[in-house]
């Protein structure tokens, strides 16, 4: 059971959160002008790294905020969490 550091509420049990996939994948502003390939890349393709990854979670059962957090996909270790539109902390790697 992961203990996820919500930047507003502190570490909480995984059951209180929903996963939001990779962080920093912005919705394209000019979606109509994108080629099918560019659009498909946005919709379907994520980096899925082995190791440290910045990802999004929402604290659904708590403060209801979406936030970003570094997590190591190898051993589930969490790095710093941070609010959207704030400076991304360096990868703990």
């Amino acid at each position: 059971m992961l203990h996820i550091p919500c930047p507003y509420c502190g570490p909480r049990d995984e059951t209180e959160f929903h996963y939001g996939s990779e962080a920093h994948v912005a919705y394209p502003e000019n979606s109509a002008n994108l080629t099918d390939e560019e659009w498909a890349k946005f919709v379907f393709i994520r980096s899925n790294p082995k190791g440290w990854m910045a990802e999004r979670w929402v604290h659904s059962a708590g403060c209801r905020r979406w936030f970003n957090v570094w997590r190591n996909t190898i051993n589930h270790e969490f790095g710093p969490s941070y609010k959207p539109f704030t400076q991304q902390p360096k990868s703990p790697a």
């Binding site: 509420c9 909480r12 209180e16 708590g62 403060c63 209801r64």
Partner: protein, 200 residues
């Protein structure tokens, strides 16, 4: 909004379990008015809300501010005609309850500022759990840290108790107020009374 007691029915029909002198005592506190308030801290709207309510909304999630409010047991969980309890649920989100006419206080603010102010009196009911073993009963289901230094008096938290989402307010010594969503109230009551078996 005044509650018309002739027609109203609370989710638990004012259920009670244990008694004032038992190791754990719990009961529903029905029909307490409540509002969900959303406003951005630091801006004019926030200042206007504070001025209207006569208290400063805490900005740290989990903090509680009260105006005249106290937890003193059944039938009267807030005292004073103008009591307001403000639980900070999110960085721009408060749960307001109390005996003051909060609606009348905030309506003028809503007309002038970008705030959201929603009557949620029926959305949740309230269950008070008190007594020497109150914390033990809650620990059967509550995954968060209940230790005094991490969840002191006048801390609040949202989470899941027996899989039911709720707000918990540590309102005074050995006493917790739970604000479960109404649809989960019966389930939660079953779970709480079951967890109390060993202490009663």
């Amino acid at each position: 909004m005044m509650v018309n007691l002739e027609f109203a029915k609370s989710p638990l029909s004012s259920a009670e379990h244990g008694s004032k002198d038992s190791a754990v005592w719990m009961y529903e506190v029905p029909f307490t008015p409540a509002w969900d308030l959303r406003v951005e801290p630091g801006n004019d709207a926030y200042a206007a809300v504070n001025a209207a309510l006569g208290l400063t909304l805490p900005t740290k999630v989990g903090d509680v501010a009260r105006l005249n409010g106290a937890c003193i047991g059944q039938d009267d969980f807030v005292v004073g005609q103008q009591a307001i309890i403000a639980l900070c649920l999110g960085p721009d989100w408060w749960y307001l309850t109390g005996t003051a006419d909060i609606q009348a206080l905030l309506l003028p603010v809503q007309e002038a500022h970008h705030i959201s102010f929603v009557d949620v009196s029926s959305q949740r009911t309230k269950i008070e759990v008190s007594g020497p073993n109150a914390q033990d009963v809650l620990a059967h289901y509550w995954e968060q840290d209940l230790r005094e230094e991490h969840f002191p008096i006048d801390a609040c938290s949202q989470g899941v108790l027996a899989k039911a989402p709720l707000i918990m307010w540590h309102c005074c010594e050995n006493c917790y107020l739970l604000f479960p969503r109404a649809s989960f109230a019966k389930h939660l009551w079953t779970a709480l009374t079951d967890a109390a078996v060993e202490y009663l």
